[in-house]
Symmetry: C2
Subunit: 190 residues, 2 copies
DNA sequence: TTTAATTTTGACTAATCAGTCAATCAAGTA
DNA sequence: TACTTGATTGACTGATTAGTCAAAATTAAA
């Protein structure tokens, strides 16, 4: 089991799926891009659907620290969220292909085929932590699961905007996008 | 040109694409579900890719009023946005299949193949209106295009949550989700 | 009713694809 | 070196698919 080879297949597949979609990306092209034979690809992944789902899990496992690491060691919950906000955006900048793949996967029917216990467990831990962080806000408490999803979505939107447009000053964008997220639309009273 | 027949094909396709994805939905199945022959399907749509893109445009044209209609006739910009917020959520509830299709299409490579002048123009008008509405907020003015996308995304997130979870009291959810959007995370000072 | 024009049909085709497997290769071992 | 084990290969296959087209059905016109 050559991990290097397996990862080469995964990364080639991510790029091709992003470019052509799941339907217009034959396994033969993935294998060619990964400099591997079709036979090898099917040694490492049972089926094409399996490959797609494994890519998702791979990215999820490799990116989850991004969330958690930045919730600790900050005094206020404003700072905790802001720190996570910036970290997620930075992850998107560093891994644009993985980011785009996640967006595509999450809106596809594959999403509902994922039932990975270990992943759910780890993310449940993340869930608890974030809920703890947002607890001081009464609105959030009404429906913590919605709030969780709302946060995740807002970070994704910011990252997507940054990736699709040419933003020169990332730091400044992180700042003002978080400000909109944090203060909302109420005209600021300053 | 039987419009009824064309719409039957479109709606059958939307449902099948949502269920199985673009790649695993043969045109033969779409035709069968629409109670039409394959030949007829290809009479109305040049290719399968063409069908997919036409569905997107169809939904866009048929849903754009939802945004605009609710920005007028409200006194404050808080009320305008809230009115739009509720209208979009209601549209999602009334048209869950169209909603899901849009989400799938928007994250797919097809998105970048759309270059419909007329649509861009109509949405540009919407863009101007919303920017006018949000102008009083200084944060939004820094990057109005981001704000626009942020609003759209937040409404989508709320709708998606409502569709994927069993929310009994829609009115109350509309209220509290908009509150989070409007006031942000800052602990309310009441 | 007859004729002409238009729409619909579905069997068919050419192309493509996921996945297989016997043969080859590479690495380790004695 | 000779043998064993496991990974790799890519030509091949059976199944599936997008799209065609000549014939049939339907509609409109005369």
């Amino acid at each position: 089991m050559d991990l290097n080879k397996k990862e080469r297949i995964i990364f080639s597949a991510i790029k091709l799926f992003n470019k052509n979609g799941f339907h217009a990306t034959p396994t033969s092209k993935i294998a060619k891009k990964a400099k591997v034979s079709v036979g090898t690809l099917f040694n490492y992944f049972k089926t094409k659907d399996d490959l797609i789902k494994e890519i998702y899990l791979y990215i999820k496992y490799h990116s989850k620290e991004v969330f958690l690491n930045h919730l600790e060691n900050k005094p206020t919950y404003h700072d905790k969220l802001q720190s996570m906000w910036c970290a997620v955006i930075q992850w998107g900048i560093d891994n644009p292909e993985e980011f785009q793949f996640l967006e595509m996967f999450n809106t596809s029917p594959y999403k509902f085929q994922i039932q990975e216990e270990r992943l759910l467990e780890e993310y449940n831990q993340l869930r608890e932590t974030i809920i703890e962080v947002i607890t001081p806000n009464s609105v959030c408490l009404k429906n913590p699961d919605y709030t969780l999803m709302y946060i995740d979505n807002a970070m994704h939107a910011a990252t997507r905007f940054l990736l699709n447009n040419h933003i020169k000053d990332v730091r400044s964008f992180e700042q003002s996008s978080f400000e909109l997220f944090w203060y909302g639309f109420k005209p600021s009273v300053q």
